[in-house]
């Protein structure tokens, strides 16, 4: 399969098999790679890094709103409401010191 085909099919297979009711097993499947599918993971990595990212970073950093506010600065400001939270989820990662302005 090509990287594009992998990205189109495997996430759907992953979702179908994700919820077993065993939170530990489910999280393990999430955070540790299935050794049997390493080549597929690498294809996805390659697609995300080499094909998507150059397009994404340009769109993210160069976009602004009508009032001149950069998209990234708008996205930094919290906005809490009952709207648009159907998909609100995600990991909490403690970032370590890195390059800053």
């Amino acid at each position: 399969m090509t990287s594009q085909q992998v990205l189109l099919t495997l996430p759907i297979q992953f979702m179908k098999n994700q919820f077993t009711g065993d939170v530990v097993a489910d999280l393990s499947r999430f955070f540790f790679r299935d050794q049997g599918q390493l080549s597929d993971y690498e294809k996805v990595d390659q697609f995300l890094k080499m094909d998507l990212w150059p397009l994404e970073i340009k769109a993210i950093t160069e976009s602004r709103f009508a009032n001149g506010l950069p998209l990234l600065e708008f996205l930094k400001r919290p906005l809490l409401s009952g709207y648009n939270i159907a998909l609100a989820s995600g990991p909490r990662v403690r970032v370590r010191p890195g390059l800053i302005e």
């Binding site: 994700q18 996805v44 340009k58």
Partner: protein
Amino acid sequence: MLLAINVAWSATTEMPIQLEVDRAFALILKTQIGKSICRDILGADANALTLYLGISPARAAEISQGCVGSEASEWVYPSSPADIRKLTIQAAKPRRYRLVHSDEAFPIESWTDAISNETTILTHKKPISFSRLVQTLAHETAVYFDSKSHPLHPGAQELPHWQGLIATEAGKMNPLLAVSNPLQAHTLTYLRALQVEFAIMHELVSAGLVAAPNDLSDEYLLHLVSERCTVTCIEQLIINTRAIYMPFGFPLIAFLRTTEKPLVKLYPLFRPVGPKSNG
């Protein structure tokens, strides 16, 4: 693979947490932002506190009565419990928390699953302190109600903040699609939630209600939440955090769905969004 994982998880313990969750939310909802979330999003409704925050019914009734007498937070956009369209497998499934203590170091500290409405808090080596739990729940609450997390979702159109504001779209990709990629989206959600978490914790620490967690004075985190962290700083954060997320980027993408189809199906459809060529 499974054998390796089973070994890694052999020293895993799941601990009861509801009493501590109730205590933590009793504090969080005393803060200005907490009161605003309780009143302006959840309508100070005890059932909503149970459903969306996971507070036990008995404590929710008591806590809801205190969600008054504070100014609206600039970070809260008033809505009502009826506006919430939470995606769950089982309708109206109350929020739940799991505290998992493991010898294995996971790459994250907590995880909110949008579909099961469940938050898993992972601790490594030692049990979580109460102030750390308050901090984690403040963060997860901000993640839960984060309304900028997926601008492609139809629900985003309910928010005036997004409408008609995009002036330019650079490059060959719609920027809303670019920031919806979980490799970027989770970092931006984290950054927004960090500010809410820090505001809540600083208020509670100043009032002497909880001990200050160590990272509340971390210079880099303080820089991230400050106004000094602008485009270059945020861009660098995204780049740094992508390296953390990349090993599980594939399942992260699997979790990200639009209302009707996986986002991944949108990728082949991306088109240049600039002026159309005459050719």
